[in-house]
């Protein structure tokens, strides 16, 4: 440790430092790890190899992409920011608190759950040489994240009083909660919370950052180029450089990968991914749980006959989940159990898997007097597989005696008129991977429009109690009980969780090690 500080002090001394940087990135990479055992396994001469520039392609958001990730909704905006800025932390099931911290040393929770104390990791440096302090974390949280309109930051704003966060000294930030919660680490360390320097208002090339790479080039809608930041906290990346490209079309991304123009293609469509199956130079690397997108159907309890729990159950029993996984995703997906957030610590693992039982479904519909009912399922191509799933669901429903049909809207239209959407009787939808209980509180509890008529104050109370419970076993019990009511009586059919079907050239390694796979990080990646 002391040796490292000496090295840094040396490096800061002007020209000599610059020269050392120029000649010895390999040397620095070899001696600058703070946690050599956990972060890097590379010894001299062993893999992964250092160096090279990795090129990765994503859907992108067109020319409206922005460096301001607090206001950039496209996946690429966040991936770019992850490469560029330090993070509070990422979810890590194997970590002691269920998270792996980034620029933090740890998060303490007050006994009465009224406040969280974020301990800043000492010695983290920005690219301008200044040290990261509590003020920087505070600015990122209370000025930037607090005013963001993106759902993920709103989740934090719904749980923490961001405006009243305060710094105590240089290395401590105290964050009051809005109500007692014990699962706040999971919200703060989802990977989205990145830290920029105090006072940052505009995001531009050359601004100080403390992520694994520094930005050297950015053209919205086209891509960004990075070079390794040799003073990155924790560990220095293996790669010399990184290029993040926007290639909107799935087939074009796959073509660029097989043509050798890129090394990593993000989120391919199931069909495209399948065509890569027999290509010897590339491999499919689908994201793993919890980084799976839930594909679901919402039944509107304000519309007859979905106010009848028997009809809702019949619809859940009618789905042939396995067939959806096999035909739509060629086996590259997981069967869902009508609850979101598969794989998150607060997901109700203990519930039995819902069976496929068209006979029982038919009987239930008959019992409810809804035999031969007519319903239109409205959906749209908002994410690959959505329309195909709806088509299969309608066939399953027909087998249970429902006169069902699909109405497919053009891309972008399904959610555009939200009040109209929430008034439909049966709709397609998808859920990003987010924790179960906090998300329930934000978007389902209290009869919110996106709950489609679900209003159960008993369940809402149970969820609040589960989140306010410090004892993990007890919290788990309460959380599972709350989710059981959703599972039994709820109005959501969630048959499939699909991964992001990523693909990479053979020999690319270490992307998964960076966690938060949905928005891949490259700080531990290496090329063949």
């Amino acid at each position: 440790m002391s040796r490292q500080i000496d090295r840094r002090a040396f490096l800061r001394r002007g020209a000599a430092g610059a020269a050392a940087l120029a000649v010895g990135p390999g040397l620095l990479a070899a001696c600058s790890t703070e946690e050599p055992a956990s972060d890097r396994k590379s010894g001299p001469g062993s893999s992964p190899r250092s160096g090279g520039t990795l090129r990765a392609a994503f859907v992108g958001g067109g020319a409206s992409e922005t460096l301001d990730f607090f206001n950039g909704p496209s996946a690429l905006d966040l991936v770019r920011a992850r490469a560029w800025h330090g993070t509070l932390g990422n979810l890590d099931p194997s970590g002691p608190d269920g998270v792996r911290y980034g620029v933090l040393k740890g998060i303490d929770i007050a006994d009465d759950l009224s406040a969280y104390t974020l301990h800043v990791r000492p010695g983290v440096r920005f690219t301008d040489g200044s040290e990261l302090t509590a003020a920087d974390v505070l600015h990122s949280l209370s000025s930037l994240a607090a005013t963001s309109k993106l759902p993920v930051y709103r989740l934090a704003a719904a749980n923490f009083d961001l405006a009243h966060a305060r710094a105590e000294g240089d290395l401590k930030v105290v964050l009051p909660t809005l109500r007692p919660i014990a699962d706040g680490r999971m919200i703060l360390c989802q990977g989205n919370f990145l830290v920029v320097k105090d006072g940052t208002k505009r995001f531009r090339k050359g601004m100080p950052s403390c992520g694994p790479f520094r930005l050297t080039e950015f053209t919205a809608g086209q891509g960004a180029a990075f070079e390794r930041y040799d003073d990155h906290y924790g560990h220095v990346p293996h790669l010399d450089g990184l290029e993040l490209r926007a290639i909107a079309d799935s087939t074009a991304r796959a073509g660029a990968l097989t043509g050798g123009e890129i090394d990593f293609a993000h989120d391919l469509s199931p069909v495209t991914a399948r065509t890569l199956g027999d290509n010897g130079n590339v491999e499919l690397v689908p994201t793993k749980s919890p980084y799976l997108v839930g594909l679901s159907f919402q039944m509107n309890m304000k519309a007859k006959p979905f106010d009848d729990p028997r009809v809702r159950e019949a619809f859940k029993l009618a789905v042939d989940r396995r067939a959806m996984v096999d035909t739509v995703f060629y086996g590259n997906a997981e069967v869902g159990n009508d609850l979101p957030s598969l794989g998150f610590p607060d997901y109700a693992e203990g519930l039995p898997q819902r069976a496929h039982d068209p006979e029982r479904a038919r009987a239930l519909l008959k019992e409810a007097g809804a035999e031969g009912m007519k319903v239109t399922l409205t959906t749209g191509p908002e994410t690959p597989g959505m329309v195909e799933m709806a088509t299969l669901f309608v066939e399953d429903l027909k087998k249970a005696g429902v006169r069902a049909s699909v109405r497919e809207l053009p891309a972008g239209q399904l959610y555009a008129d939200f009040p109209a959407y929430t008034a439909l009787p049966l709709v397609g939808s998808y859920q990003m991977p987010v924790p179960a209980l906090s998300t329930y509180q934000m978007s389902t509890a209290g009869g919110s429009p996106s709950a489609f008529g679900w209003k159960e104050s008993a369940t809402d109370t149970l969820v609040a109690k589960a989140r306010a419970e410090s004892d993990r076993a007890e919290a788990r019990k309460l959380g599972t009980r709350a989710q059981r009511t959703r599972w039994e009586d709820g109005n959501q059919v969630l048959p499939v969780f699909k991964p992001n079907l990523n693909a990479q050239s053979k020999g690319v390694r270490g992307i998964r090690d960076d966690l938060f796979e949905q928005f891949p990080g490259f700080s531990q990646a290496s090329l063949a």
Partner: protein, 316 residues
């Protein structure tokens, strides 16, 4: 009427039309179901959050007031900021429109001479060659763009490995930095335009060749290239010039299929994305500028056709 008066009158007409079109575009965005709130605030935002975002974007004001504010800015060259990502619309136009103009221009540069050549050849020759080229052109004109693109990729990029599969343009560069990446997009767009223009030219060339005036020229010993270029082409080119002007103008904004397949950074896809996100300032800005480009191209086409016509008048 002198050319200057003609151009002046056309310019005034185009300007008036542009204003009308911008209002029509705005009205169209207003009747689109839904708004940008879901794209900005996320689909699971609460009612209060939606209302807040709507107010922030200015969507709670009446449509007429929003149009007036937009028009006042547009006159000063400020097309506003996109709802998604908050980028100035003029920035997006400045980075994407030149690429689209380049693609359309190159396509025209390839199509026009080839169409003239093929049109003259088939129109004058007739017979087997004419039937072959005409049938081929007819088939080509009927095949959808994405099929042409897929065939070209399969043959030139996958099978023969002559060209890159997608147009990966160096960061901070322009498509001109990687000229070989332009070939497939230009070929795809050119194929359809060429087929249509060839068909049109062939018919008018055959008509012109049958006129007494050409007969006379031929009897006077004018033959071959000289007859074709001096006497037939000027008379036959009118309709084809208009057709080419129309397709070229349309290419600037509606090459979406080609932009997607080859990942070419044009303006068409931006417009498509903006419509999907209900990003009204972006839609409004891009669509209005594209309408302006189209009017300019049509005006150029008119002037060309008029010059050809004038030449015809004086040449006799």
């Amino acid at each position: 009427m002198s050319l200057i008066v003609f151009v002046g009158r056309r310019l005034v007409g185009a300007a008036v039309l542009l204003v009308v079109l911008s209002a029509v575009i705005f009205a169209a965005t207003a009747v689109l179901p839904g708004d940008a709130v879901s794209a900005v605030a996320g689909v699971d935002a609460s009612e209060a959050q939606r209302a807040e975002v709507r107010a922030e974007l200015g969507l709670d004001r009446p449509a007429a007031a929003r149009y007036a504010a937009w028009a006042a800015g547009a006159v000063r060259g400020d097309l506003g900021h996109g709802f998604v990502g908050d980028r100035p619309v003029t920035d997006v136009l400045a980075t994407r429109l030149p690429n689209s103009l380049l693609l359309a221009g190159l396509t025209l540069a390839v199509t026009a001479p080839l169409a003239a050549l093929l049109g003259l050849w088939t129109g004058l020759r007739g017979g087997g060659a004419d039937r072959f080229v005409s049938t081929a052109a007819q088939i080509l004109a009927a095949v959808p763009e994405f099929v042409v693109a897929a065939l070209l990729v399969a043959v030139l990029a996958v099978w023969l490995e002559l060209l890159p599969r997608v147009s990966v343009i160096p960061l901070g560069g322009t498509p001109l930095d990687v000229p070989h990446a332009l070939i497939l997009p230009v070929l795809t767009l050119g194929a359809v335009g060429l087929a249509v223009a060839t068909r049109l030219l062939r018919v008018s060339v055959a008509d012109a060749a049958a006129t007494p005036y050409c007969e006379a020229a031929r009897l006077n010993g004018v033959r071959g290239v000289r007859l074709a270029v001096r006497h037939i082409l000027p008379n036959a080119a009118g309709p084809a010039v208009h057709a080419l002007a129309l397709t070229t103008g349309a290419l600037v904004g509606s090459a979406v299929v080609v932009e997607n397949v080859f990942d070419y950074p044009g303006i068409g896809r931006e417009l498509q994305l903006a419509v999907a996100a209900r990003d009204i300032p972006m839609v409004q800005g891009i669509a209005t500028v594209l309408a302006g480009v189209m009017l300019a191209v049509l005006l150029t086409g008119d002037i060309c056709a008029r010059l050809l016509g004038a030449r015809e008048g004086h040449g006799r």
